[in-house]
């Protein structure tokens, strides 16, 4: 189970980095280490973490999906139209959003698996189409005014524990994903496709099917993230999700997922997302300019990728 062993190693690096980061920031700004701030951070991480979850699966297969941000925007507007404008049950709106997310993802999957388009190009097209759809449908507007029942996902807390619903939801989602990737055949096939697609195909595995499923999952996760986002902000903007794909990919990379495919872990990506938000949150509390934050995150990504390439340096033995 070398994969699993490897996962533990890469997990360790990012967890250590996270701890070091937290300690460093806590020393400089005590407001960071309050329970309130910790909860804040976990809340701020939910949307990106869920998107990253989906994109992670795609990256495992050696592909990429840059349409996720646009799908978040698109599905958000769909919910706005159905729940606010048409006044129908929130459940219907959510169901529609999830369906659209699945549809977009599957469309990407078909383009890539069946028509052999390059993932970057196919998802670039979807990125444009979904964003255009969102802007057109909503006429560039924002749709607000959701029912309390719907908003519970984004702002509710669980009884006396006061743990926000969205955090619990995110954790459960991740546990589910971990189970799927580690304990089901699906997960193993996904890793194998990333490791060597042709060898996997020649081992009698329907590579096209699993590649397609990966993109479907990515679209689905974007839709789920959108539900959380709209519930949190009580509004769906047509521009929502812009650039989120970059943050999501960064989370995966920082967490140890190799962009070449075949390596990485579910929890690593979670840690990666948390690191991103911790940096943002910490630097915000320290009054560091937003622009400088981007620089820091860029450096962190670079370090993470360097660590990744050192780990996977091709060894010459024979």
């Amino acid at each position: 189970m070398k994969n699993i062993k490897k996962i533990n190693l890469s997990n360790m690096t990012s967890v250590i980095a996270l701890l070091v980061l937290c300690v460093a920031i806590s020393i400089a700004e005590p407001a960071f280490r309050t329970v309130g701030n910790m909860i804040n951070i976990l809340q701020q991480v939910t949307v990106i973490a869920v998107i990253a979850l989906g994109i992670n699966v795609v990256i495992f297969t050696g592909g990429i999906d840059i349409s996720v941000g646009s799908v978040v925007g698109f599905t958000g507007i769909i919910m706005g139209k159905i729940i606010v404008e048409k006044g129908l049950f929130p459940v219907l709106g959510v169901a529609a959003a999830l369906s659209i997310g699945i549809l977009c993802g599957t469309f990407n999957g078909i383009m890539i698996a069946k028509f052999k388009l390059q993932p970057m190009i196919a998802t670039l097209a979807m990125m444009s189409m979904a964003r255009g759809a969102a802007l057109t449908l909503a006429d560039g507007q924002t749709i607000t005014g959701y029912s309390d029942g719907f908003r519970w996902i984004g702002v509710g807390v669980i009884g006396s524990t006061q743990i926000p619903v969205q955090i619990l939801f995110m954790i459960l989602f991740y546990i589910l994903a971990y189970y799927l990737m580690r304990y089901r055949k699906f997960g193993r096939y996904i890793y194998s496709i990333g490791g060597n697609e042709e060898a996997t195909r020649l081992s009698g595995i329907n590579v096209d099917k699993y590649k397609m499923l990966a993109y479907t999952i990515s679209g689905f996760c974007s839709a789920v993230a959108s539900v959380i986002l709209v519930a949190k902000l009580n509004s769906a903007q047509s521009t929502a999700g812009e650039n989120y794909e970059m943050d999501a990919i960064a989370s995966c990379v920082i967490g140890g997922t190799s962009l070449l495919g075949g390596f990485g872990s579910v929890w690593g990506t979670f840690v990666g997302a948390v690191i991103m938000i911790v940096i943002r949150n910490g630097l915000n509390l320290l009054n560091v300019s937003s622009n400088l934050q981007k620089l820091v995150i860029g450096v962190v990504i670079l370090l993470a990728v360097l660590a990744d390439s050192i780990r996977h340096r091709p060894g010459k033995v024979k």
């Binding site: 980095a17 701030n37 009580n234 509004s235 943002r280 009054n287 560091v288 400088l292 450096v299 660590a307």
Partner: protein, 330 residues
């Protein structure tokens, strides 16, 4: 393994280094940050000033004015913004972080008139007064959530825009106008559009499109509009960047002198343009005065005063007639 530890160490050094130099963003030392709780005792007031972005000269002028006034008053100020005006979630997170940090007041220029409401409510619940500046939030939405702001500091956007509209109505015959709109969902932009529009009802509308407050986009939109409608003789852009973009498109297209351009904000580019005749008029909002008023409002609230719903600040139409004075005052 060695290299991994090294990577982590480097990251730690980086973050520490940045936290040290991060102090440049605040007016006072960040070394005193560790005594965050003791600031109250020292009599220092901490205000979080969160705007939509720093990409427009308008905001940097406001920032300068804010820090200057804060220093004068001995107030600790943190002027923050996301990288883009459209990054609403980030701005919400900034407000949440400020609430969590326990600042004494929050000044906010909302990126979206409805999405910031939940964050405002969080501030209300924590007992932190919220003052809006330059951009309002949607009153209905605010009321529905049970949120409340101390005051809105800013010009009356509609009134200010109409200054330009009145001038245009007087000086232009047979107007054929192109409108360069702003970002939908931002009430201020809508008010500016209508303020001008309502004064020139007799003008024929050739086009009305958004260029998202961006200079480049405005250039492209203007170019396209001019090709389709070469008789356009009036342009109303609801911000300076778009006005500049339009001016460039007009120059390049060979329409110089044939189109009268009006915009909003009176940036330094605008001042130059008015001087050399490519811009007919611009509505100045004096963002630095707005910042002063906003900070003063915070201090007043903390002092126990109740504020008016709208703290109106100055707006003036700058044209060739008064541009020299205005330029000097800048």
């Amino acid at each position: 393994m060695k290299r991994r530890i090294l990577a982590v160490l480097v990251m730690m050094v980086m973050v520490s280094a940045l936290t040290a130099c991060g102090g440049s963003d605040t007016s006072e030392t960040s070394g005193g940050a560790s005594g965050g709780e003791s600031l109250e005792e020292a009599g220092g007031i901490e205000i979080a000033y969160i705007v939509k972005a720093k990409t427009d000269e308008f905001w940097t002028t406001m920032e300068k004015g804010a820090y200057a006034y804060a220093e004068e008053k001995g107030v600790k100020l943190s002027f923050q913004a996301p990288e883009k005006e459209t990054d609403v979630e980030k701005q919400v997170q900034m407000v949440e972080n400020a609430v969590n940090k326990g600042v004494d007041a929050i000044i906010l220029s909302a990126a979206d008139s409805k999405s910031l409401v939940p964050a405002i409510v969080k501030a209300n619940n924590a007992g932190i007064p919220v003052i809006l500046v330059n951009d309002t939030v949607d009153d209905e939405a605010l009321e529905a959530e049970g949120g409340h702001v101390e005051t809105y500091v800013g010009i009356d956007q509609y009134e200010a825009a109409s200054l330009a509209g009145i001038y245009a109505a007087k000086s232009i015959k047979d107007g054929k106008v192109c409108y360069l709109e702003g970002i939908s969902g931002v009430k201020a932009h809508g008010d500016r559009l209508n303020g001008f529009k309502d004064q020139v009802e007799t003008f024929e509308v050739a086009a009305s499109q958004t260029a998202k407050c961006d200079r480049n986009e405005a250039f492209n939109v203007m170019q396209n509009v001019l090709s389709a409608n070469p008789e356009v003789n009036t342009v109303w852009a609801i911000n300076a960047e778009m006005g500049q973009g339009a001016i460039q498109a007009i120059e390049q297209g060979g329409f110089s002198g044939k189109v009268q351009v009006f915009d909003f904000d009176a940036s330094s580019d605008d001042v130059e343009a008015i001087k050399n005749g490519t811009l007919t008029g611009s509505v100045a909002q004096f963002p630095d005065l707005q910042a002063e008023a906003a900070i003063q409002a915070c201090l007043d609230v903390i002092d126990g005063q109740t504020l008016a719903e709208h703290t109106k600040t100055k707006a003036e139409l700058i044209t060739a007639e008064n541009v020299e004075e205005f330029g000097a005052a800048e």
